[in-house]
């Protein structure tokens, strides 16, 4: 197996020709512009790559198997956890984050963090949004069933109940109460 660092000597020569500039302080944890000259390439073994691949296949079979077990709402959670384990395997080994510049991992972590913020704050709205009561056309608080603050009386609904099936114009999300998956 050839070592990629074979070229070291050649670069050392380059260094000597131009070595007039003192290296800058390396306080930036190796992220500085003038690190080592040669390309850092950690070469993984065939064994490692195939082992990771087999792991990915095993987890795929696992996720298919778990899906047919009735877990209710936990199914989604289990599926996401298994998928995340697979994702970590791919990122760490196939995408070389294990031996890579730590800043690249930081980019990934930042992206995932902001996705988390996106999920958390959007679902925070949806989960606490009052549901629409088809009887009154009002928005009602989820827990108590009371009229929600600021909710709007639908005059059409008050007069006749015949338009029951229609989605009221105020629908801001959950169009009908029966479909609401929230346990009452």
């Amino acid at each position: 197996m050839t070592d990629p660092h074979d070229d070291h000597e050649e670069y050392d020569k380059v260094e000597n020709v131009h070595g007039v500039v003192p290296p800058p302080p390396r306080e930036d944890h190796g992220l500085g512009p003038y690190g080592a000259d040669e390309v850092h390439a950690h070469i993984g073994s065939y064994r490692m790559y195939f082992a990771v691949f087999m792991g990915l296949i095993v987890f795929t079979l696992l996720t298919v198997g778990v899906a047919s077990i009735h877990l209710g709402r936990a199914n989604l959670a289990v599926a996401v956890i298994i998928a995340s384990v697979k994702a970590v395997l791919v990122c760490t080994f196939f995408m070389h984050l294990k031996d890579d510049n730590k800043f690249n991992s930081l980019i990934l972590i930042a992206a995932v963090t902001f996705i988390g913020v996106f999920f958390a704050l959007t679902l925070n709205d949806v989960a606490y949004r009052e549901k629409l009561d088809t009887q009154s056309g009002n928005r009602v608080a989820l827990e108590s069933g009371d009229k929600a603050p600021g909710s709007w009386e639908n005059p059409v609904k008050k007069e006749g109940e015949k338009k029951e099936g229609e989605t009221p114009p105020t629908a801001s999300g959950v169009p009908s109460a029966e479909k609401s998956p929230h346990p009452n």
Binding site: V21, P23, F114, T122, N124, D125, Y128, A148, S172, G173
Partner: protein, 550 residues
């Protein structure tokens, strides 16, 4: 380490010839169209954004003229809706987002790093053409009927109204990718192309601001892309994701839209803050007070901007609980903004201030940013916002941040780096007169709008009650003064290109890194690979030769 390659490579084969610079080292239109030089690309961006600024500015003038009287003044309501939409879309997506990072940033970023170019020069050129392509779609949309949705494209109106919404949205979608690629490029450049000695703690504050901006461009813009893509699919294939009749959620569109567009506000303002740091340091010859606090606050603004987007949606039908959470989070933004203002004021305190024209813009920035920022606190407060939402108060607030802060900083930066970019000086006396005209005109337009809004004048309305007319007339009148000032500024810069006297290397006696290069710079920016041994604001360490004019 092969740090000094400049000596071997020369500058386009004319090593040492002071008359050869990036503007004249190659000639002909194709040498510009295919250029990979960040300075030329920066100039091309500058020309494009100025063109769109003038175009959208004329639209704003039309809006103001229409609002001179209640009822019809010059156009019918439908045309009015199209005019204010085109003003918003073009100003936001084609002017203010690329304005500072892609034009001035592109020009000075590698120079401040002591680098020869950005990390990916071809990607840089590609992002310029992507931007032009996006702009082309926006113009086609305009020619085929325009759009009357407002720049926010809210569903369900945007999915049901007539007009060329898909084309306009496609234009914004494409322009977004230009912004993403610029961000990718700048992050990489700042990481990998800093000259020897340029440590993170010596990085100019403008670059810290650009760095924070780039993070936002990379991580927020794609959400706009997917939002606009879904909107296009909604209109063309009727997929129903945002359609309440089909079980979709229109409020979700607003979440998606503002998840990008709130951070976008910081894509606009952060580079402006960065320029102001450079201006204040140069024209007081002082180190910015609390360097660390200033760059940390830039990064904090970038972070917080992701947590507050739904304060645009307090009246949208979002849950009351989410309203409270977002209102509380929004106040966080005031902290880093306050830190910055404190540091700038502290730097100015008892300083000997040279009120050259760029510095006047920086001082106006401080004044107007305080107004824009503090009125933002009113709007962050849930109860007050219910009253002020979608009124002229909001219009005035965000124009104080967008125009009064960002665009004033852009003008300041343009004056400041103009000698470096073109090698010509402009007429300082004219520049000061222009500044005062613009300053008076600008504030005259928007201060009356605060009053209008707090009295209940809704934004985007074609017609209004008679009691609002006086203030509308004042606002319109000052918009003409502002327009005169801006055309005067344009004329002044054109005059400078034609007759301006040759700019010295360092006309402002700045210790900033970019002033070490000749004006205008050669192809690879510096005659010799610079090695930085002091910070960009260390006037006590700068030699006399460094801060001399030539």
């Amino acid at each position: 380490m092969a740090a000094i390659t400049t000596d071997q490579h020369g500058h386009g084969g004319h090593d040492g010839d002071p008359n050869v610079n990036y503007l004249n080292n190659t000639r002909g239109i194709w040498s510009w169209i295919y250029t990979l030089d960040h300075k030329r690309i920066g100039l091309m961006y500058l020309a494009a954004v100025i063109f769109f600024f003038i175009f959208a500015g004329v639209m704003a003038l039309l809006v103001r003229i229409e609002l001179l009287t209640p009822g019809r003044t010059i156009v019918d309501p439908d045309t009015y809706n199209r005019i204010f939409t085109i003003h918003g879309v073009v100003m936001v997506f084609l002017f203010i987002i690329p304005a500072i990072p892609a034009s001035l940033g592109n020009f000075v970023l590698p120079m401040m790093l002591g680098a020869k170019d950005v990390a990916f020069p071809r990607l840089n050129l590609l992002s310029y053409y992507i931007y032009i392509l996006g702009a082309t779609f926006a113009v086609i949309s305009l020619l085929s009927g325009g759009v009357d949705t407002g720049w926010t494209f809210y569903t369900p109106y945007s999915t049901t109204t007539n007009g060329a919404v898909v084309l306009m949205v496609l234009g914004a979608f494409i322009a977004g990718f230009s912004s993403i690629l610029t961000g990718v490029n700048f992050i990489t450049t700042i990481h990998k192309l800093r000259a020897p000695g340029l440590t993170w703690s010596r990085l100019p504050l403008f670059l810290w601001a650009i760095y924070a901006t780039s993070i936002l461009q990379v991580l927020a813009t794609p959400v706009l892309a997917i939002t606009l893509l879904l909107l296009m699919l909604e209109r063309t294939l009727d997929i129903g994701i945002f359609d309440a009749h089909k079980g979709g959620d229109p409020v979700l569109f607003q979440h998606f839209f503002w998840f990008y567009s709130h951070p976008a506000v910081y894509i606009m303002i952060l580079p402006g803050m960065g320029i102001v740091n450079e201006l204040i340091a140069t024209f007081t010859h002082r180190k910015i007070m609390g360097y660390r606090a200033v760059f940390v606050s830039s990064l904090a603004l970038a972070l917080f901007s992701f947590l507050v987007w739904a304060h645009h949606m307090f009246t949208s039908g979002m849950s009351e609980y989410a309203n409270m959470v977002f209102s509380a989070l929004t106040f966080l933004v005031a902290i880093p903004s306050g830190v910055k203002v404190f540091n700038w004021t502290g730097t100015l305190y008892k300083a000997s201030i040279w009120t050259a024209s760029p510095m006047l813009y920086a001082l106006a920035f401080l004044f107007q940013f305080c107004i824009g920022g503090l009125t933002g606190l009113f709007l962050a407060m849930l109860a007050v916002d219910i009253h002020l939402h979608d009124t002229y108060f909001v219009v005035a607030h965000f124009h104080y941040v967008m125009v009064g802060s960002t665009v004033f900083a852009f003008w300041g930066g343009l004056h400041y780096w103009w000698p470096k970019m073109t090698g010509k000086m402009y007429d300082e006396k004219t520049a000061k007169r222009v500044f005062w005209t613009v300053f008076v005109g600008y504030n005259g337009v928007f201060i009356p709008q605060f009053v209008l809004g707090s009295r209940g004048m809704p934004r985007r309305y074609y017609d209004y009650l008679p009691q609002f007319q006086t203030l509308h007339m004042v606002s319109t009148f000052f918009s003409w003064i502002l327009a005169v000032g801006l055309f005067w500024m344009l004329f002044m810069f054109i005059q400078s290109l034609r007759h301006g006297k040759k700019a010295p290397r360092n006309p402002w006696n700045s210790a900033g890194y970019e002033w070490g290069a000749p004006s205008p710079p050669p192809l690879e920016n510096f005659v010799k690979q610079p090695v930085f041994t002091r910070g960009p604001y260390d006037y006590h360490l700068a030699t006399d030769a460094e801060i001399a004019e030539d």
